[in-house]
């Protein structure tokens, strides 16, 4: 049977991808950030997932105002990096897992999560940066990838509760998949940042740290935090942390912290990283 081996939460700041692509990871500005990622890289190398479900938001790349799916699941065979204005990132094309992805679609939709099924999609920094953080710069990504794209940039976004429950439904789907595959789930985005308007550059370190504490300990309560509180306290784009709740919902209520890291700044953003396993993993 399929097995969920853990969850990884990470910001997906585009300039982290640019630092990787342009060989800047050891420069003084970036070194502390990339040093903080090493334990997560070690972890994923050790647990060797066959498939990573990456929960992220698209940034007006594959989807735009003509089509705004709240949840979009990539069931295709491969996902190429999107050209976000500089040409596509020089990273491998992500290989999908259509059979498992269609199982997820079937299971989730029958579990009352009416998500959008996408065969053809390019993926932007929201997905490729977390893969770079986890795996560095391999010739091919060492696992299959299933994109789960959540609308986070256009009001109305799904609530924390909805994302947390979606994670729980994903766990049920994983647990009933007959193939012996090892699955990891990534929740990406955040933490505090505001890119636009007069508050651009807003960072709320104290709130982020408390949010991380509670995210680990009492996820269903964190899921109930209203979006307006997240936007007020952590910036208009800080709301992306809502997507971490999909990852958290897939894990057991009791988790073990494998690695936790926080650093300001990464570009205009507070960088957060968390690796969790179920407390009682066999």
């Amino acid at each position: 049977m399929a097995k969920l081996i853990g969850g990884l939460g990470t910001s997906h700041v585009p300039s982290i991808g640019a630092a990787v692509d342009h060989g800047k990871t050891q420069e003084p500005y970036w070194k502390p950030v990339f040093d903080g990622m090493l334990a997560a890289k070690d972890w994923i190398r050790a647990v060797k997932p066959d498939v990573c479900i990456v929960v992220y938001n698209d940034h007006a790349s594959r989807f735009a105002l003509d089509l705004i799916p709240t949840f979009a699941l990539g069931v295709g065979a491969s996902f190429a990096p999107h050209d976000e204005g500089f040409g596509p990132r020089p990273v491998p094309v992500a290989e999908g897992d259509p059979e498992f992805a269609w199982h997820l679609a079937e299971s989730l939709i029958q579990d009352d999560f009416d998500l959008t099924i996408v065969n053809e999609m390019t993926v932007d920094h929201g997905l490729t940066v977390p893969l770079s953080i986890a795996f560095g710069q391999p010739e091919v990504w060492p696992c299959r990838v299933i994109p789960l794209c959540v609308n986070m940039i256009q009001y109305p976004q799904p609530s924390g509760k909805r994302c947390y429950r979606l994670g729980q439904a994903i766990r049920r789907a994983i647990d009933r998949y007959p193939a012996d595959i090892r699955v990891a789930i990534f929740g990406t985005g955040g933490l505090s940042h505001q890119l636009q308007g007069e508050r651009a550059g807003l960072i709320n370190r104290e709130y982020d740290q408390q949010w991380l504490d509670r995210f680990i300990r009492e996820p269903s309560e964190v899921a109930a935090i209203p979006a307006v509180e997240l936007m007020r306290e952590t910036g208009s784009e800080g709301i992306e942390c809502t997507m971490w709740l999909v990852m958290r919902g897939a894990l057991d209520e009791q988790v073990r912290v494998v690695h936790r890291f926080y650093h300001v700044p990464a570009s205009n953003t507070a960088y957060g990283l968390l690796v969790l396993e179920n407390a009682t993993s066999d």
């Binding site: 105002l65 204005g85 890119l195 636009q196 007069e198 807003l202 960072i203």
Partner: protein, 136 residues
């Protein structure tokens, strides 16, 4: 929307050749048109331009997100000021939560050392720096 079309290199080239003519292809208001041509970043936001769309125009101009952040601060902040603010921990939350919070602080006579939305001084003091403060 105009910004989204800049995803294509061929469109970027057309826009570069004749910005005003390129904008004729889109049903935008005069105010939106002016904001785009004058690169009024805060104006574009107020006229409905989400950052993930207007950032496509910023990338076209060779800007980074720090340039956009500085321009949107609305205080005449330079990109160097903005980077220094981020390196010092970012724009502080105190005084920046909401207009309501700011008016309550003012009403209660709270010491206005924070960087309220309407206040021009947005760069936190960093000791030992000989850098000029941001100009309002």
């Amino acid at each position: 929307m105009f910004c989204k079309t800049l995803d294509l290199a061929s469109n970027r080239e057309l826009f570069r050749q004749d910005p005003a003519q390129y904008l004729d292809r889109f049903p935008i208001t005069d105010a939106q048109r002016r904001a785009v041509l004058e690169r009024d970043w805060l104006g574009m936001l107020r006229l409905g331009g989400n950052i993930y769309y207007t950032f496509k125009l910023a990338i076209f101009d060779g800007m980074t997100m720090q340039h956009a952040g500085a321009a949107m601060s609305g205080t005449g902040m330079t990109v160097e000021d903005f980077r220094a603010m981020m390196a010092a921990g970012g724009r502080p939350i105190e005084g920046n939560r909401s207009r309501l919070e700011n008016s309550l602080r003012q009403a209660s006579g709270a010491e206005a050392s924070g960087t309220a939305l309407a206040q021009p001084q947005a760069v936190p003091e960093s000791s030992g720096s000989d850098r000029e403060p941001a100009h309002g």
